[in-house]
């Protein structure tokens, strides 16, 4: 009886979690086929797809998105895999891991700006080399970033996804027999990398497959990074959809829904191609294992992986420094490496503009991440020992291109009479924040010694009392970290904010990305820096509060 009830609640929760995605998809599909009574569409038609196909260079836009997704995911995975294989458990590994982990919190848009500020023709790298090495006394006429092949966008995505996949792998590693496998394989004469790949990679990959898919779908459908670093003529498919959405012409909405359906298909196609890549990888893995090749001298390979990971982190950090510098730069003519004077004028000028969006960003992030934390606690306290598959509905939003269902949600919200507000934006943020909060909270939740609760239960305390007085206080740090992760995710969300906020609710992120086409480096510096720093506010709270509350409790400090 109680089991049946629990199963019922479980199914209810699953439906509730799937609902936003499914409803959103429906809200996208119907207008794509012409059905949107509010805008006079009552007849089913394929006309909007014909219009989509007739758009100039639409195939090129779609292919660039697809290629960017596949290439950046593949390269990131290979580099991180080689790095983990070559260094797991060593000193340099711990160092690079510490270097990379704060990057996880930096929003995509901010790190894209950081890279743009470095590699642009008038950017820092060229300034460093000019005019002595290059002979340039004015910026060269290069299409960088925004190169037509999307190479700058791809490198931006790689640099940003690397910390994520590294962290995901680190979370999976403790469940693998790493030390034993290493000893065995090196006794057999294998190099570190080949030994790791032959003995452990299939086990590791099985555990990180879902996040890899999430990275793939995300990079195929990314908008903010593509607007900042991606090609302009034509832009990538998601950027074009966003442009149609912003178009005043009502007919463009139908075009946008058709585009969103194409984006959905593109995301699915990317997954299908990736599954092919997986098959191929399995074949290569079998060949390699059977060949007996030891590849014992893999120093070059290992060093390359370490250099790429370190370099990409260094690039983003330098870029963030540049954002800060630009925001307080006075006169800074090309090709000077540093500004001739510093001033706070830009900040004073921008203050009136960013105060509102800043408040919105913080309120929305607080609302969505606190609510997500409460839901995650509720879900975990019902079934803490469920496997990852049981949470699949929660991760659905990460496996469907956001534009394909957030757009539909926007239409549904408008039909239901919700006008854009902080609450509606926060509600949609929740859909994206919850998976990450859950991912962050689940491992420490499971790791807590259950005997503490058994003791408390024997002392006559109810489950609710035990949750409130034993489990949550003991997991306070983990809860606050999960909250901070959610806060960071919410701060970085661009598309859901633009679509649901509909220009009436703006955040630092939407303002920063909107500035990207303008090219005022100083003001971009202010907004991108704010965006990059905001997530650390959450992490600061997460580290200070337990420190303060438990300053007299030795076992509660790490």
């Amino acid at each position: 009886m109680r089991d049946a009830l629990q199963r019922g609640i479980g199914t209810g929760v699953a439906v509730m979690l799937c609902l936003p995605v499914l409803a959103g998809l429906a809200g996208t599909l119907l207008p794509a086929f012409g059905y949107l009574p509010a805008l006079g569409g009552t007849q089913l038609t394929l006309g909007h797809f014909e219009a989509l196909v007739a758009q100039p260079h639409i195939l090129r836009s779609a292919l660039i998105s697809l290629a960017a997704g596949l290439i950046s995911t593949f390269v990131t995975l290979m580099v991180v895999c080689t790095f983990v294989a070559g260094f797991a458990g060593t000193r340099p590994f711990a160092f690079i891991q510490h270097l990379l982990s704060p990057l996880l919190a930096v929003p995509h848009a901010a790190s894209a700006f950081a890279i743009a500020f470095l590699i642009a023709p008038s950017g820092f790298l060229i300034r460093l080399a000019s005019p002595e090495l290059t002979g340039f006394d004015r910026p060269p006429d290069w299409l960088v970033p925004n190169d037509p092949l999307g190479l700058s966008m791809i490198s931006g995505l790689i640099a940003k996804e690397m910390p994520f996949l590294l962290l995901v792998m680190l979370a999976a590693l403790p469940q693998l027999p790493v030390a034993n496998a290493r000893r065995l394989m090196s006794a057999l004469g294998y190099g570190r990398v080949s030994g790791f790949i032959i003995a452990l990679w299939p086990l590791l990959y099985r555990q990180i497959r879902l996040p890899v898919f999430a990275v793939l779908v995300y990079s195929t459908s990314v908008i903010d990074v593509a607007m900042i670093l991606g090609p302009r003529l034509p832009p990538t498919l998601p950027v074009r959809i966003a442009q149609w959405l912003a178009d005043d012409d009502i007919g463009a909405r139908f075009l946008a829904s058709a585009g969103a359906v194409l984006q959905l298909a593109l995301g699915l196609f990317a997954i299908v191609v990736w599954i092919g890549v997986e098959r191929l990888g399995r074949l290569c893995h079998r060949r390699l294992s059977a060949s007996g090749k030891r590849l014992s001298d893999d120093r070059l390979l290992r060093r390359t992986a370490a250099v790429i990971t370190t370099l990409s982190a260094a690039l983003i950090f330098t870029g963030l420094g540049l954002l800060a510098l630009w925001s307080i730069a006075g006169l800074w003519p090309f090709p000077d490496s540093l500004p001739t004077s510093l001033t706070f004028r830009t900040w004073q000028r921008a203050l009136g503009g960013f105060a509102g969006p800043l408040a919105n960003t913080i309120i929305i992030a607080l609302l969505s991440s606190l609510l997500a934390l409460a839901i995650a606690i509720g879900l975990l306290s019902r079934s803490a020992h469920g496997t990852a598959e049981r949470w699949f509905p929660v991760f659905l939003p990460l496996l469907v291109p956001e534009i394909a269902f957030v757009f539909g949600l926007q239409i549904l919200a408008a039909m239901a009479g919700f006008s854009p507000s902080i609450a509606t934006v926060a509600a949609v943020h929740l859909v994206f924040v919850l998976p990450y909060v859950l991912l962050s909270l689940a491992p420490p939740w499971r790791a807590l010694d259950r005997r503490y609760e058994q003791v408390a239960s024997g002392l006559g305390k109810s489950p609710l009392k035990i949750l409130m007085t034993i489990r949550l206080p003991m997991l306070l740090r983990a809860c606050l970290t999960a909250f901070a992760v959610g806060f960071a995710v919410s701060v970085s969300l661009y598309l859901p904010t633009v679509l649901i906020g509909a220009g009436r609710v703006t955040t630092i992120t939407t303002e920063a990305v909107a500035l990207s086409s303008g090219g005022d480096r100083r003001i971009i510096g202010v907004y991108a820096l704010l965006q990059a720093l905001l997530p650390f506010l959450g992490f600061l709270i997460a580290s200070l509060v337990p420190q303060l509350l438990f300053r007299h409790r030795r076992a509660m400090r790490i």
């Binding site: 010694d449 259950r450 005997r451 503490y452 609760e453 058994q454 003791v455 408390a456 239960s457 024997g458 002392l459 006559g460 305390k461 109810s462 489950p463 007085t469 034993i470 206080p473 003991m474 306070l476 438990f550 007299h552 409790r553 030795r554 076992a555 509660m556």
Partner: protein, 221 residues
Amino acid sequence: MRTPGKTMPLTLSDVTIRLADRLLLSVSATVMPGDVLTIMGPSGSGKSTLLAYIGGFLDPAFTASGAVLLGQDDLIALRPQQRHTGILFQDPLLFPHLSVGGNIVFAIPEAFKDRDVRRRMAENALDEGGLGGFFDRDPETLSGGQKARVALQRVLLSEPRLLLLDEPFSKLDMALRQQTRELVFAKARSAGLPTILVTHDRADADAAGGALIHIGAERQS
């Protein structure tokens, strides 16, 4: 604390525990108030699982049947928090976020409402355990023996109806083990609590002085 007269005998009747299709153990026994039933067996024999079944937190991987009666009450029908089974594990498991006194106050039944009364009860319990003045201490700063005594006072103050001991002495060093063992058994006896001890240390069983049941494949003579 309950007077010995109020406590009741504990009866295990045909308690059977299985893991998948494998029978782990099958036990019938009666433990009188103040007596200790010792269950010995190698690790993996399911002796801790028996305590989990009685306490109400059996892992769903196991299936169990049989009645656990306290007097006439069927404990298995009650929710875990209504069974009032005091448990001591290998580790003292003091709640690390509370002070030493906080740990004990937590255990005092909610019927005692007044904050000062609760604090005084906890302080008395600490005095009794030779831990006077430890109320505000961080549990992490205590020695192993001190932690074990706090854990014991915590359990006793919660007014348990029976006591379950899951190898509670195995992590203590020799001298301390004997001392703690005597203290726990003496307390259980004076509170009149029917007690089940699982262990693989023969000396524990001898000190307990009650009935002894061997389970698992490796029987010791």
